[in-house]
């Protein structure tokens, strides 16, 4: 993958294994000496952080599942039993709940980093698309996990979201209703629904883990992008992954854990909704049904569209459109740092996403609805109009001659010989 192997098995066991299942060779080549651009900044540390968060969610989740009961009568109480009577149950459950939020903090930063530095452009399109698939799976997993608490917000979120499929009645009468009842396993959200949500919530993280392996594989073919967006041109542009990036990623991970710990130990319910501590009641609708914070921008987009069917299409398209970004962006320059016009549109897009998050938490009427529609229009306009058009008309800033030059300035020695095979053009 990517570069010639430098692994030398040093013991008999290693030689034996190397000709059968060369795992040590892979670890050595891909995680120890893997040539990585020397100029990666701290925005590049979120890949490692996300891997850590996935592991945390799987480990805490497996133990929680040992104590959880996916029944309409038992779910809410079994969660409270975990909080009260299971050894370290409060830690497991809060770590899992806050962990989901931290997972999304990291994945959104990771995604925006990819967007800013053009990490989706050739030859990294497949890497990017795998990332979008992971995002889709994460959203589904988080939604199903939230439902398992079986509080008021859980129940009504499931009701609202599963009901979205009934919008297909507008296409083929009866199709949507049939589909919704098939998903529910009945005529309303109930125990069969809860059971399948639990089963799938347990399954999906392992699917995510599988796609993550593909994502890392796809990363290790072209190698990492970097803040200049200039390809690796010589061996001098790269450093071995270990120790340089293991230590840098490790430091960033510890800082991330400080934020994680602060929320987990001192404000574990800060990001949640109090209504979810009220047991699910199908006869009583909460005054405001709002999703967890990480879904609010998508919720705002859903409600900005007056038609239910097109609202659902916009909701799906808001993430699905990311798949096409490598071809919607017509600029040959990767990093937004070197794109004087697009830079403004990019930061406006970031503000727009945060604004959508706020608008998603408010009732959709009056000015909230107006701005919700404005931001939704910009959200899609950014991808469908600004990305293709600005790429054509923009004159980019001068790129550095090489990664080494960008780090060391003009004092840099001229780029070395082309010994490094990793920098595919």
């Amino acid at each position: 993958m990517g570069h010639p192997s430098t692994y030398e098995p040093s013991t008999g066991v290693e030689r034996w294994l190397d000709s059968r299942l060369p795992v040590p060779r892979m670890m050595h080549d891909q995680f120890m000496v893997f040539p990585t651009p020397r100029n990666l900044n701290y925005w590049w540390t979120f890949g490692g952080i996300l891997t850590f968060m996935l592991a945390i969610q799987i480990v805490t989740g497996i133990v929680l599942a040992m104590h959880y009961q996916p029944t309409v009568d038992g779910a809410f109480d079994s969660v409270e039993k975990i909080m009260r009577d299971v050894n370290w149950g409060w830690l497991l459950r809060y770590a899992h709940a806050i962990g989901a939020s931290m997972f999304f903090v990291a994945v959104y930063i990771h995604t925006f980093r990819g967007l800013y530095y053009g990490s989706y452009k050739a030859p990294r399109e497949v890497l990017w698309i795998l990332g979008v698939i992971i995002l889709f799976l994460m959203i589904a997993t988080a939604f199903m996990g939230y439902s398992l608490v079986w509080g008021q917000m859980s129940f009504w979120a499931v009701t609202v979201i599963t009901n979205l499929f009934s919008s297909l009645d507008a296409v083929i009468p009866g199709l949507g209703t049939t589909l919704v009842q098939w998903i529910w396993g009945g005529f309303a959200v109930g125990e069969p629904t809860l059971n399948r949500l639990f089963a799938l919530h347990y399954l999906f993280p392992f699917v995510i883990a599988g796609v993550v392996i593909l994502h890392i594989w796809a990363l290790h073919i072209p190698g990492s992008n970097n803040p200049t967006g200039v390809e690796v041109k010589s061996a001098k542009d790269t450093i071995p992954f270990h120790p340089y990036y293991t230590i840098k990623d490790g430091y960033a991970l510890v800082l991330f854990c400080i934020l994680f710990g602060a929320l987990l130990f001192y404000a574990p319910n800060f990001l949640g909704h109090p209504d979810n501590y009220i047991p699910a009641n199908p006869l009583q609708t909460p005054p405001h049904i709002v999703p967890e914070w990480y879904f609010l921008p998508f919720y705002a987009i859903l409600r900005a569209i007056p038609s239910k069917l097109f609202g659902v299409i916009a909701l799906i398209a808001s993430i699905g459109i990311l798949v096409f970004v490598p071809w919607l962006d017509t600029s040959r320059i990767r990093s937004v740092s070197y794109r004087p016009i697009f830079k403004w549109f990019f930061w406006l897009f970031v503000i727009c996403c945060i604004a959508l998050g706020y608008l998603g938490s408010q009732a959709p009427d009056g000015w909230y609805l107006f701005f919700g529609r404005l931001c939704t229009a910009y959200y899609f306009g950014f991808f469908l109009l600004i990305m293709p058009i600005v790429g054509f008309i923009e004159g980019p800033k001068k790129l550095p001659g090489s990664i080494t030059q960008s780090v060391l300035g003009s004092k840099a020695p001229p780029g070395g010989s082309q010994q490094h095979a990793g920098g595919a053009q």
Partner: protein, 264 residues
């Protein structure tokens, strides 16, 4: 890099949105000084014991707390009743048990492992006895309302006479903290309704404060343990962060040395 920093701040501010958006319409809930405030707070055992008394003599007449057991009253981080006191408190409740060998249900005094006795057999009985209103279960009440213990205190001290321009429904009470200001629960706390033996003044204000603290413990019995474990882990992480930072600098210094020796 400034733009990037602004983004980071904005993202974190974004996290706060759902929480701040919850303030109910036109109600005023003032933050109180609680002994259990993060990051180093502890429950005041005397307050929790008084709060349990208020709960037992006032709240428990109509409200259940089905997730709590009498044994919880003696567990670490709680009211800290002695084992004998817990047994005595439990035995005051008549618990329906059974069926026995003849298939009959029977009454027996409670034991520490019993859940708190619920005042009504079911929701329908609760509604029938309360003019159609259902007194909610109080087990996690302090986490199920925005504002938590501040809200509970504001609610319990928020009774008053309705403004003259407000039309009150039949049987409803005016309350400044309750969303919509009309609550079915009559003012439960009047001076002297519960006897305090530790010298604390038996005022409605003290009752409200003590029972709100008790309900916070009921909702979050592992709060003290969480703060204690949290402090250790946070100290570890902060020290570890410094070590990682210095290690990172030391490792990357090799690279900078290499660059210097090559360009020299």
């Amino acid at each position: 890099m400034n733009v990037v920093r602004t983004l980071a701040v904005a993202l974190l501010a974004g996290l706060a949105i759902p929480a701040t958006a919850l303030g109910a319409e036109g109600t005023k809930i003032e933050a109180q000084d609680w002994s259990f405030a993060p990051p180093f707070g502890r429950f005041d055992k005397g307050q929790l014991q008084r709060g349990y008394k208020v709960y037992q003599y006032v709240c428990a007449n109509c409200h259940s707390a089905r997730l709590l057991s009498y044994r919880n009253l003696g567990e670490p981080g709680g009211p800290g009743f002695s084992h004998e006191a817990v047994e005595a408190l439990a035995s005051q409740a008549q618990i329906t048990d059974g069926p026995d060998d003849t298939g009959q249900m029977y009454q027996r005094p409670g034991v520490p492992s019993d859940r708190f006795r619920s005042p009504y057999a079911n929701d329908a009985a609760a509604r029938a006895a309360n003019n159609g209103a259902l007194p909610p279960d109080l087990s996690v009440m302090a986490k199920a309302r925005a504002g938590g213990s501040d809200y509970l205190y504001a609610l319990l001290t928020g009774y008053g006479t309705a403004p003259s321009d407000m039309k009150m429904s039949q049987g409803m009470q005016y309350n400044t903290a309750f969303p919509g200001h009309q609550i079915a629960m009559p003012n439960p706390l009047v001076e002297g309704v519960v006897e305090y033996t530790d010298g604390t003044k038996p005022t409605p204000d003290n009752y409200a404060k003590d029972v709100s603290a008790f309900l916070m413990w009921a909702a979050e019995p592992k709060l003290e343990e969480r703060y204690k474990v949290g402090a250790r882990i946070m100290i570890f992480l902060l020290v570890f962060a410094v070590i990682m930072y210095l290690s990172k600098r030391a490792v990357w210094a090799r690279l900078h040395r290499r660059d210097h020796s090559e360009s020299a």
